[in-house]
Amino acid sequence: MEVFTEYRDQIVGAFWTTVQLTVFSAIGALILGTALAAMRLAPVPTLNWLGAAYVNVVRNTPLTLIILFCSFGLAQTLGMSLVDPKSPTSIVDSNFRLAVLGLTLYTASFVCETVRAGVNTVPLGQAEAARSLGFTFSQNLRIVMLPQAFRAVIIPLGSVLIALIKNTTIASAIGVAEAALLMKEMIENTAALILVGTIFAVGFLFLTLPLGLLFGRLSKRLAVDRQ
């Protein structure tokens, strides 16, 4: 337990970084993923094709590769910067933002497929009724289909979010000080392997299990009542 008290602040800090990575990437992925889903459903074949190409390429690439590409490729080789180079925390911030970028790009492809599956669950009559009222494609999607689609896929979207929480550990590949990086450091420094392993496993259980419950409850509450 000595180890735990000694590292308590660092553990809390590392998990806080994990949570921050998750929240920022989740917001980004939700926006980008919904836009991609709209592209894949749109009446313009070029947009369909682009959306499908993005999803197929990104979904089949390892996340480690995407995040390393953001760091080695975008930041180091091409010199693209997401931070103000003069700020004192620019290196830490830069890695954090690159990780958020990689996680967003990766997770968006899963969000897109989930939202598309949700649109498929909405009964045909809804879209037909909207069209007979003279709704355009974007009105149809915005006002009629997506609100129902999102309610239908709350549990799958919850799974995507939980997968995202677990995936944030991969950000340690570019040195973001989140849970997995601290775990490695603690094992190397303290040799209290079992204790350290338990701390981090339990930490992730605390993050993921309540979310699963929450999304289960939300999905029941928000389910579209179909008679």
Binding site: P43, N60, T61, L63, T64, T77, I155, I165, G197, T208
Partner: protein, 296 residues
């Protein structure tokens, strides 16, 4: 695609013109973005022959890429076979009529689905190092295979459970009427049919395993992504190296995903027998299903 086309009316002359304009604008936009990327790459000297030349030498492939591919395939193959065994045991265990077996299996499955693969890999890696379980050459491989087996095993357990759950009740009842025991019913009636239903998802799970071997990068496992970064630092061409590795990875995974979809469509076409689970249904994993569904 039926519901996609139901979202908009069949385009008339004006809509066709508008769609064409949107298409052209999009293409111009994409072309500009592509040109910007290429210009940026060129200005940083990433498109010079010197950066790409090494990929035409057998030496680079022999020294770096082939060991990477071998590492990735070894880890993926070992872990998928072990995960199948573990998943079958846990999945059947979760369906057992005995509470003393069902509950622990449920806890194990939910635990390994909730903990990140990297955490398991790091733990296994240091555990094996501490107790000298494996020769140091195979330490990273053992860590990667352990992490992937535990995670994929838990996911496959869920696939087995939903595969058996997708069978009609009549199967179970007919077996009971014939006087078969639970074990006999499972072995000779339910599992053989469930396997057919599970096949597409299992192939998709292969993609997940193949992709996740890259997580081993962080415990110094020699796989494709690590070799890509090694090439990058040796030849000073990170971007070309990562692009080549990505192209290899994507084409392998894309072929597997396509095979899963084709398998699913083919199984769905046959009228008799069981309907397959959707190829992507469980791919993401992670939601504690047992806690959501009331009653275990």
């Amino acid at each position: 695609m039926t519901s996609a086309s139901v979202l908009f009316d069949a385009p008339g002359p004006r809509a066709r013109v508008r769609n064409r304009i949107i298409s052209v604008v999009t293409l111009v936009f994409v072309a500009m973005a592509g040109w910007l990327v290429i210009a940026k790459l060129a200005s940083k000297g990433q498109l010079t022959a010197a950066k790409w030349q090494p990929f035409l030498t057998a030496d680079l492939w022999r020294t770096y890429v082939v060991p990477g591919i071998a590492g990735t395939l070894t880890a993926a193959a070992l872990s998928i076979v072990l995960a199948l065994i573990l998943g079958l045991l846990l999945g059947v265990g979760r369906l057992s009529p005995t509470t003393a077996i069902r509950r622990p299996c449920a806890v194990i499955v939910e635990f390994f689905r909730a903990v990140p693969v990297l955490i398991m890999m790091i733990f296994a890696y240091f555990l094996y190092a501490l107790y000298d379980t494996f020769p140091s050459k195979y330490l990273a491989l053992a860590g990667v295979v352990t992490g992937l087996t535990l995670y994929n095993g838990a996911v496959i357990a869920e696939i087995v459970r939903s595969g058996v759950g997708s069978l009609s009740r009549g199967q179970h009842e007919a077996a009971a009427a014939l006087g078969l025991s639970w074990g006999q019913t499972m072995r000779s009636i339910l599992l053989p049919q469930a396997v057919t239903a599970m096949l597409p998802v299992l192939v998709s799970q292969l993609v997940v395993a193949l992709k996740d071997t890259a997580i081993g990068y962080q415990i110094t496992f020699v796989e494709m992504v690590r070799q890509g970064t090694v090439i990058g630092s040796t030849y000073g061409n990170y971007i070309p190296a990562l692009i080549v590795i990505a192209a290899l990875m994507i084409s392998a995974n894309f072929a597997l995903s396509a095979a899963a979809t084709r398998l699913e469509r083919r199984l769905r076409r046959s009228r008799q027998g069981t309907q397959p689970l959707e190829a992507e249904a469980i791919e993401q994993g992670g939601a504690p299903s047992a806690l959501i569904e009331p009653g275990d």
